[in-house]
Symmetry: C2
Subunit: 493 residues, 2 copies
């Protein structure tokens, strides 16, 4: 029965169902009683904590500080920036009252009509408006700049079609909001944070990403330029994994935030914002996992090593306990997180498949023969291979192995992307190939019309105009008009 | 001008205004455009991060894990536990719609009447209901217990009279929610978390607290027993600093959460919940600070040491820079957080008063004579005393000094509380003394009627029935009826 419970739909049969099975069965998250809102379960949240800790360190190393701004935004704020309201008013939770009262007709409670707010409040879908309204009070002179704030928070967007981690009505994220004296400085900041995100994705999530610029259609509502990192999932679809926006003076103008420069002249302040969310956990799952369960890169695994004893008697278990205690200490001394599971109400086979499902990078098993031989069985989650090694210097061995696994998971994802990225020059070929789950590098004339036509006919979007790589000009595959460089097309989550 | 900006109202003149001045001028927090919601500024948030990190470590050491539950609670959930709805329905933010649309009569946006929710959602004032509704799916058997979850989150209570940190409509907190197979185990858990809170308050916040039980009037809505830690502020008022609730089977019954025990019998699950909030920062400020600004205990100070150079020339500054660099490294190697402020646009005097205002525990200053003599000036924030010491072994000297400061701040707060805690036996004396800002240990007959009479006539409440200390019975100071032990009365924040 335990085995059936853990069985997943195969990726090859139904990729979407495989993903959902995995999120539920690996105890990462589940749907809640509130439509579109998820419960992040302890194992899923432990991954988020690893993500948070690492990103937070990186933000602080680049000079940022954390702060906290209100959950609620006065309705009128949303409409101060013209594009912003178009982007966010359509999907927001609106607070209209501040009290309930007993239902006069029976039991239960009803909204008290007398407790109606004068102005409705929006649950933040993103915080540019409330933050720039606050920054007005913080900024008078160039001496007050730059402001480099980040916030870890929950936000709400009333999505109609939701999927655990990937798209939920409420999600957790960080949002950086910076204010600068010059356009240059703000542009550099927006690019710097894109690099931070790319470094995090590649070095910690083991997720190769393409850094690029969004087309006008896909730009953040209120931004002058949106930078993005785009990753490929195992089905060849793209997942936007982080964005960094150069906001120009749009929000400063909307909220009248001016400063006096060194020469005594007044100007509007320049802005950026940037964010990543719990969506990253969806990316992590979809990029690396397999039909047996999660595959977690060691740097983000809640625990990196699990040790399972295999014993025939209480005496033998006691001997193994003693032997393992030394190994646990040695591993911890090298900064490796480890769990020793000697619980006696589950069999080793059950534990093996459990930790496979949960994506623990390395599983060690010790039995009677290992005790005699001073050996231990080492199983890698990423390759599903096993070997028996000496217990001497096992700590250093495991440390190196974890590095290998981290690299291998990255390499595998990179190989997948390389093998599924193609260049296409005709729209006919594009329409055929895009159905096979690939990133297509193609020329585009730079217009929204052409982009919309392609999207309408193929459901593929321009994921980004890459910052690095081939910049050879050419001709748009649809219109034949000039194209500055190939851009990345894909279907996307 | 800088000096005036930093000047605070004196505590002796107007304690409330002093507090507000300090919160604003030390850049801890400010009011936002949304009534009752605060902006936590970077310096204030940095203190909260220290609080979070420490508490989170302590929760994990005691076996807890973090998770995340939805922001929204269906309205019907609130009324499932009879006492709970009475306590929380009166002050909650209600989401009734999920979309805005362009105002047909002009610019701006209005609520779209067609996007009305079938059931209104409440922004969580606390999460017992949504969590116990979730736990129903997690618990079948005794093997699924205990569940030891904590959540770091924002909550909203529509308070009419708010004060930065102490009482705000939105605040940040952690809420632990545990599920147990037996009454005993749940009671032990509730007491254990009270001890964790008390240890944190005393050892990290340098805040002596009284551990006790709340009277029925002051109990959490839905709890069988509420445990509390109560601290004294410098005006002699009490501040409830953390609570831990034994919830019995109330929420399990309300949400039908049963489990099968080892003998195959079904029973409702036993529960606790416990929380502390950003209110702790208000306590920290009010307990220790003085007319010059914040006084922060070293364990929670965003930086523990600031170093200010005093120089007459660029050459001299360069020499000081070099000398200080070695000290900074030595301090950091001992785990001490340090900021070297050699910014040239502010004078040393300005910096001194700035860091005094911000409560940095130790300020070091180095000038030309110090260079010659291999000395440095050491100023303590808690005692406002200075001395000149040798640079040799300055790291160890500072480490010991920080320990001394931590202890001294605690001792000072304890002395204040001791000198302002009195025993009283008659209600006449009680009414007179309670106006002087004291904790009064008095006998009470255990009835809500007597407690309410005292509150109505004096504004003092029973802060707690202490768990430790004198348990001698006596007679109620109001009714003369028997009293099991003295309880703590005070006016409270």
């Amino acid at each position: 029965m335990a085995k059936e419970l853990k069985e997943l739909t195969k990726r090859s049969e139904d990729y979407s169902q495989w993903y959902l099975d995995l999120v539920l069965k690996a105890d990462l998250a589940e749907n809640s009683a509130v439509r579109g809102c998820m419960v992040i379960k302890p194992y899923g949240y432990a991954i988020w904590e690893k993500v948070q800790r690492q990103l937070d360190d990186m933000f602080k190393e680049t000079g940022h500080v954390n702060a906290y701004f209100p959950l609620f935004i006065p309705k009128s704020f949303l409409s101060k920036e013209a594009d912003h309201v178009e982007g966010f008013a359509k999907e927001c939770a609106v607070v209209t009252h501040y009290r309930l009262k007993n239902d006069p007709d029976g039991k239960g409670v009803v909204v008290d009509p007398e407790a109606k707010l004068e102005e409705e409040l929006i649950v933040r879908p993103t915080s540019e408006t409330i933050i720039w309204n606050t920054y007005r009070g913080w900024i008078q002179s160039y001496r007050d700049l730059p402001i480099l704030c980040n916030q870890w928070a929950n936000v709400v967007r009333w999505e109609m079609r939701t999927r655990l981690f990937l798209r939920t009505a409420e999600f957790l994220w960080q949002e950086g909001h910076t204010a600068h004296a010059t356009k240059d400085e703000a542009e550099i900041e927006a690019r710097k944070m894109l690099d931070v995100y790319a470094e995090f994705a590649e070095n910690h999530m083991a997720l190769p990403v393409i850094k690029g610029v969004k087309s006008a259609n896909e730009r953040f509502a209120g931004a002058v330029e949106t930078y993005t990192i785009e990753a490929m999932m195992q089905d060849g679809k793209a997942l936007q994994s982080g964005t960094s926006h150069f906001l120009g003076q749009n929000f400063a103008k909307a909220f009248d935030v001016k400063f006096t420069d060194k020469d005594g002249k007044q100007d509007y302040v320049w802005a950026t914002s940037w964010g990543v969310s719990t969506r990253l956990i969806g990316a992590l799952i979809m990029a690396h996992s397999d039909d047996n369960g999660l595959v977690l890169p060691p740097k983000l695994a809640p625990y990196q090593v699990v040790i399972v004893p295999i014993y025939r008697s209480a005496e033998q278990l006691a001997e193994i306990d003693t032997k393992v205690a030394g190994i646990v200490t040695a591993l911890k001394n090298l900064g490796i997180s480890v769990k020793y599971d000697n619980a006696d109400n589950k069999k080793p086979g059950w534990k093996f498949s459990e930790y496979e499902l949960k994506g623990v990078p390395v599983r060690l098993a010790m039995g009677g023969r290992d005790l005699e031989n001073n050996t231990i069985e080492v199983a890698r989650r990423d390759t599903l291979t096993k070997e028996t090694v000496s217990c001497d210097n096992i700590d250093v061995y495991i440390k190196n192995l974890l590095n290998d696994i981290q690299e291998n998971i990255y390499k595998k994802a990179l190989d997948t992307r390389t093998s599924r990225t193609i260049s296409v020059d005709t729209y006919e070929e594009f329409k055929e190939k895009i159905e096979t789950g690939v990133f297509i590098m193609a020329h585009w004339d730079g217009t929204s019309e052409t982009e919309e036509k392609i999207k309408a006919e193929t459901k593929a979007t321009i994921r980004c105009i890459p910052l690095d790589g081939d910049k050879t000009p050419g001709k748009c595959m649809v219109t034949g008009n000039p194209s500055a460089q190939r851009v990345v097309f894909a279907k996307a989550y």
